[in-house]
Symmetry: C2
Subunit: 390 residues, 2 copies
Amino acid sequence: MGSTGLNQRLVRAQSWVSQSVDKIDTPALVIDLDAMERNLAGMAAFAQAQGLRLRPHAKTHKSAELALLQMAQGAVGVCVQKVDEALVLSRNGVNDIFITNEVIDPVKLARLAHAVQLGDTRFAIAADSALGIERLIDALKAARANEVGAIDVFVEMDIGHGRCGVESPEQALRLAQLIQQNPTLRFAGLQAYHGAAQHLRSTAERDATMATSAARVQEAVNTLQGAGVTVPLITGAGTGSFVREAGGGLWGELQVGSYLFMDADYAANETDPDAPRFEHALFVKSQVMSRSTHHAVCDAGHKSHAIDSGLPRVAHPPGQRFSNGGDEHGVLHPIEANASPPPLGNAVWLIPGHCDPTVNLHEAYVGVRGGLLQGTVERIIAIDARGALA
Amino acid sequence: MGSTGLNQRLVRAQSWVSQSVDKIDTPALVIDLDAMERNLAGMAAFAQAQGLRLRPHAKTHKSAELALLQMAQGAVGVCVQKVDEALVLSRNGVNDIFITNEVIDPVKLARLAHAVQLGDTRFAIAADSALGIERLIDALKAARANEVGAIDVFVEMDIGHGRCGVESPEQALRLAQLIQQNPTLRFAGLQAYHGAAQHLRSTAERDATMATSAARVQEAVNTLQGAGVTVPLITGAGTGSFVREAGGGLWGELQVGSYLFMDADYAANETDPDAPRFEHALFVKSQVMSRSTHHAVCDAGHKSHAIDSGLPRVAHPPGQRFSNGGDEHGVLHPIEANASPPPLGNAVWLIPGHCDPTVNLHEAYVGVRGGLLQGTVERIIAIDARGALA
């Protein structure tokens, strides 16, 4: 492998520390640290007031530093989606990690088992098939990880999303019993997350959908308890739905992720009256590099921000609408008919449509204190698990 | 910065070399080397037969190894979109690079000027504003790069896309004259690329659009020549339109990129009768990690493939339709009503909707020889300029 320029880019980013935001080269992923800390505190206070465990989803930020910040404010640990994310965070000091996803591949399970065997980190994992559980047992035995102690396994239920998870209470019972039969594993409860519900716009739709989901969870709990299987914990919820999981008495742990940054998609949801107010804390700083009489072109496109949940919104300058300019460009049109596009060289601050896959496009966060427009770069925050896909 | 796991992942990928495709961990970005080499040869033969310069766009592959392969087969050099891409490729041995994009930021121009001053690589750049040209001159002087010799500057014209480029022949003339006034710069011709035309589905629409674009280019050439300014070269074209630029007698250089890999979006275009046949050569290998009676879930989502030009198509197994499963999942539904989803652990080969931003999500290509299903991993190819956004 030759030189990728990654180290040079990280050294460059470090040179902006203690400098004005004007020094930040574009495009760059910027955190408004003041706003992020208010989001962090708001969710921590909510979970504490409700008496719920908070286990934020690190798939959003992929950063050990931010995971440890969440844990310092009361989170019991974090969630991830992939084994490689878990390994990277564990190597960087995060010591309680739940892989909220199925892993079938023996190679990946061997990597996980090796990390379990090291004993530094408490790992948990989800399962929705007997094959997944059997292969996990085999991997733990092969790595002699079973000598370290049992690892937590949650049975994932499909509660309406139609993606992963068992389809019936009976299947959940069979898998819970399979887990209980093996002393290497501990049946930790049910993983019950409804991804699609997060993005239903009205509070009424989210209420109705999550009420149906809660009924399915209750039915599974009844089935398991009826067969003598205690359900220690139900874990799930996201930034769009968590007020419902928190209020129902079933869920004991919240896996919210996007609350830390917010994005244009979540901001388009009707606000829950009982939820803390979350602010936009994640931005792509871009700049105008071409300009006609009608529009300006900035240097951020699909390689700088994900568009699966829509195009970015323009936070600054005001009065500009973003339209798709392809992989490396964004086009800004003045919203008012007689207004002008911003001049060449001007900074353009974008609010990504969807924070998680946008974060995965960048190598580091630039943490800014004192606001986007007059602030100072406080620190560079590593996106440790960027590209940890497997 | 802590451990990102990147080195571990690259070492892991190297361990697959000389092994069966079955050993490739998922999700992974895989090149069918046989198909890619046929695409490479097909475009090289086309350009040679037409007597045109071929300067493939490295924004597609971001790889020095693939750039050098293109140059070994007759390409005069490559194009990039960003200064950081140019610097990474230059450091890895690519010695003729055209930045087909505007650069206004003095910090970026200083980096470029420093690389020009080293003298290893012939650089060219596009401009569409007097400010961009003046700042380029200042940066070259500050780095004493002007003592090395002139660098090529192309004036970019907007030929219908409505993004970058001057709007009139008179503007093109003014910028060409500004370039000619400074001995540090050489007026190299016109950058004339129509991005949106690449994705018009019918050959008739592409014919009509590019005919209008060619008329705009001809008008600019007439204006410049009428004022005594020779236009040494017109450069542009993409995989969707290049047969038209090649045939018109105006363009002398083709900047095609996606022909190397093809993707689902380009494959949806009506084929040009006069174009070489290009094959899908880029795939995401994924695997089934959850399965219900109705569908299977594979381990590739928005963090493994870009969806700006649509969802991936399923190359294998046959008979499955891909639907959106979010950032880390894809959902497979059997197309026939009484068919089954593929079993747990099975490999799933996806054809990305859009190759360029998909490549940018991965750290390396896995180069396979002998076909996707029974082939062998021949080599790992670095995606050197992945994440080179600035």
